[in-house]
């Protein structure tokens, strides 16, 4: 885009109509898209009737308050939300560290280093990616059981292993990013006597902050969003539940009536950090897509 030249235009009725239609259309769509979000936020603050009931026949609650949030953290006898929160946090931190190391290592290797089995690895990663993700869930469970990781405290280790273990497959985004860093930088460093490892840590990494941030955040988010593996691994061991299984349980028939507004409160609490992360990364998602296409 070069300079913008402003040209004064005459009032054009056709253009005015088109623009009005477009803006009305966008407003209507926005309402549709924001309605559920707004509804949940309102429900999470609904405290009349003790916050009980899964619905009301009116949109705006009659009484607003923080009671649902307080009860979510204080009434822990049946569904212990604070503990679930801590569980998820611990698992997420470890998963994040391991996955980030794995993803960046594999992506860098695939992008920069040339070795014999590279093509084979790329092909195999693509083929394995076509299998339904949790097809292997039963098998993974058996492996973890054989290793003795499915009972007690070790369930947390099992979850970390499951989330982080296979993360070396998800290297495409980071590889795409590394591909865009000019190779001449590497060559210059190599001529100056740097080892390849130094090129990786001292040349490429400092230039890759966006993709590092992206990888850290996405792998941190994983355990907050997954509930299939967590559910299979925890089974009935409630003390190791993660937030997502907890929230899912609150909507089960036996809890729905009492817990619905607390579910909404929990949903809002989980969504705030995730949404913040996502909106911060929004630009990056966009750039990643167009960047990957450009090559």
């Amino acid at each position: 885009m070069s300079k913008k030249i402003k040209v004064k235009k005459k009032f054009n009725p056709r253009r005015f109509v088109t623009n009005s239609v477009v803006h009305v259309f966008l407003t209507v769509l926005s309402v549709i898209w924001l309605f559920p979000v707004l509804w949940v936020i309102l429900q999470s603050f609904r405290v009349e009737n003790n916050g009980y009931g899964s619905y009301t026949t009116y949109f705006f609650p009659k009484e607003l308050g923080f009671k649902n949030y307080i009860r979510l953290f204080t009434e822990t006898d049946i569904l212990n939300f604070p503990q679930m929160f801590m569980n998820t946090l611990i698992i997420a931190i470890f998963t994040c560290i391991i996955s980030t190391l794995f993803v960046l290592s594999v992506a860098y290797t695939m992008s920069r280093l040339r070795f014999k089995l590279r093509k084979t690895y790329l092909n195999l990663a693509m083929i394995m990616g076509l299998f339904p993700g949790f097809m292997s869930m039963v098998a993974t469970y058996q492996i973890l059981k054989t290793l003795g990781l499915t009972e007690g405290e070790l369930v947390r280790v099992a979850m970390i292993l499951v989330y982080a273990g296979g993360s070396g497959m998800g290297f495409y985004m980071a590889k795409g990013f590394f591909d865009t860093i000019p190779k001449s930088l590497d060559e210059a460093a190599l001529i100056d006597g740097a080892t390849k490892f130094q090129v990786f840590t001292k040349v490429t990494m400092p230039l890759s902050k966006p993709i590092i941030v992206y990888t850290v955040l996405t792998s941190f988010m994983g355990p907050w969003l997954d509930f299939i593996f967590a559910k299979v691994l925890c089974r009935t061991q409630k003390e190791y539940y993660t937030v997502s299984i907890g929230l899912w349980n609150m909507l089960e028939k036996e809890y729905l009536y009492k817990y619905f507004t607390r579910f909404c409160a929990g949903a809002v609490l989980v969504s705030i950090p995730i949404a913040t992360i996502f909106i911060l990364m929004q630009k990056f998602y966009q750039d990643g897509m167009s960047g990957a296409v450009k090559g």
Binding site: W33, P36, L113, R118, M128, T146, G168, F197, W224
Partner: protein, 464 residues
């Protein structure tokens, strides 16, 4: 794909190969075929040689103590011993004792994988022995162990960086996949045996392609379910992908129009809805649209309807609803990603079109759409794949319901959700495994065909 099988001169060709080691190796090198590291130790690469020997001893120890037994059990998937005990009142009771077949299968697969890894290791060790022989013969510098360590940070950096991630993938992705695929060839399920006495959960057998026949036959109970689930999966994936794509593109174009005001605000509104964790928004949608949920209540309260709309309880309603809800989830996401691509369309193209007097619609069909299709074909394939495997939307919204197609699959079940039900709820692991393999086959065919016939396939190398 072809060049996997075709041998062509590689850029990584080296004289240090196993064949050369066998042909040209001296006695020490040949001894290394049996006793790994012998050549290295004799030629002063002590540490490396000891490492080879140590690994070999570990492997042999494992094979002797567990491995061979596992492999022999693997053939029959274990056996049971009938142990009879005399009871206090003089009679006999008996019980069957043995390792469950699923463990036998797992140990067998693990042993095979370990053996394959050892073969790869053995090849490296033999090559290394031959290499050190050649280095000695030509009087070149024989690298010490410390040099090898240093090499890991330099020429062999890929080995260092890939070791742990590969181990992770092998244990938590590849091994389970092989294990699960093998289950497709057994009768591992809790189906009751013909005599109605016991099930196959503890003890199962190799049955070849029987489960495949069950799934693929048109007449059988499972076969009927399979074909209708497959049909719905494809319909779902096509609609979900195309409608999302079209909707997302229209939204992106409208928001990115020059004359649209408050671009940031609109974008924020839509992004907010995807920024919420998907399982949260889907669970909310489910609650809102249920028979006694907010939407039905509001509509009844306003007197627009008398009876609750059967969003989840009528098959056709449910199918349309999941597609529509998926649009709610997917359109903002597509919009976001396509915006980037849209902004990359060279402005000259539009200017030229304007000069030629093309109107907005012609421009869209002649410039925007072809460009977008060209650039985003890989993206479309990924989305299509993602939709075929879209577990969350279906499982969280309808749980596969309503109703039953057969004894397990519901009207909105995709192959993946059905797979989940079969394995987790019903313990029909063999059928589940077959479904998984069939899903893979469908995906592989679709991706290959679309990818090969797409414009971006031929230029793929050009991007690198």
């Amino acid at each position: 794909m072809k060049n996997i099988f075709k041998r062509k001169p590689s850029e990584f060709a080296t004289e240090y190969t196993v064949t050369n080691a066998l042909k040209k190796g001296d006695i020490l090198t040949r001894l290394s075929f049996l006793l790994l590291g012998a050549g290295n130790i004799a030629r002063k690469q002590i540490a490396k040689g000891l490492l080879f020997v140590f690994t070999e001893i570990c492997y042999i120890y494992y094979m002797v103590s567990y491995g061979f037994y596992s492999l022999s059990e693997f053939v029959t998937l274990g056996h049971y011993e009938r142990i009879e005990t005399e009871t206090d009142w003089g009679g006999y009771t008996y019980e069957y004792i043995g390792i469950p077949s699923v463990r036998v299968l797992l140990y067998g697969v693990a042993t095979i994988v370990l053996t394959l890894l050892f073969v790869a290791f053995w090849r490296e060790a033999v090559k290394s022995a031959y290499k050190v022989q050649r280095l000695n013969e030509t009087g070149m510098y024989v690298n010490k162990f410390i040099d090898d360590i240093k090499d890991l940070f330099n020429v062999n950096l890929h080995k260092l960086l890939l070791a742990l991630p590969l181990a992770g993938i092998l244990t938590f992705t590849a091994l389970p996949l092989i294990f699960m695929m093998l289950m497709a060839f057994t009768n591992y399920s809790d189906a009751v045996t013909p005599d109605g006495t016991s099930n196959y959960l503890n003890r199962f057998y190799w049955v070849g392609f029987d489960s495949f026949k069950d799934v693929l036959s048109i007449n059988g109970n499972i076969g009927e379910q399979f074909w209708s689930v497959l049909a719905w999966t494809l319909i779902w994936a096509v609609f979900a992908t195309l409608l999302n794509y079209i909707g997302g593109m229209i939204l992106a174009i409208i928001i990115n129009r020059k004359e649209t005001k408050f671009k940031g605000l609109w974008r924020f509104n839509f992004v907010l809805s995807i920024a919420i964790p998907q399982f949260v928004s889907l669970l909310i949608m489910r609650t809102m649209l249920s028979d006694t949920g907010a939407i039905n209540n509001l509509l009844m309260d306003w007197g627009l309807i008398d009876k609750a709309l059967p969003f989840w309880t009528n098959a056709t309603w449910a199918r349309v609803t999941v597609i529509v809800v998926n649009l709610w989830v997917g359109i903002p996401y597509t919009m976001l990603q396509l915006s980037g691509v849209l902004q990359n369309i060279p402005a000259e193209l539009y200017e030229a079109a304007k000069v030629d007097g093309a109107n907005a619609i012609t421009t869209f069909f002649k410039i925007t759409l072809p460009y977008m299709l060209f650039v985003t074909t890989p993206y479309l394939i990924t989305t299509f794949t993602g939709n075929i495997n879209n577990f969350n939307v279906i499982y969280l919204l309808t749980g596969g319901g309503p109703g039953k197609l057969g004894y397990t699959a519901g009207q909105t079940d995709l192959l993946v959700t059905w797979l989940y039900k079969l394995t987790i709820d019903k313990n029909d692991y063999n059928i589940g495994a077959v479904i998984g393999i069939m899903t893979f086959v469908v995906l592989a065919i679709v991706s290959l065909v679309t990818y090969r016939s797409s414009g971006s396939y031929k230029d793929e190398e050009g991007f690198q």
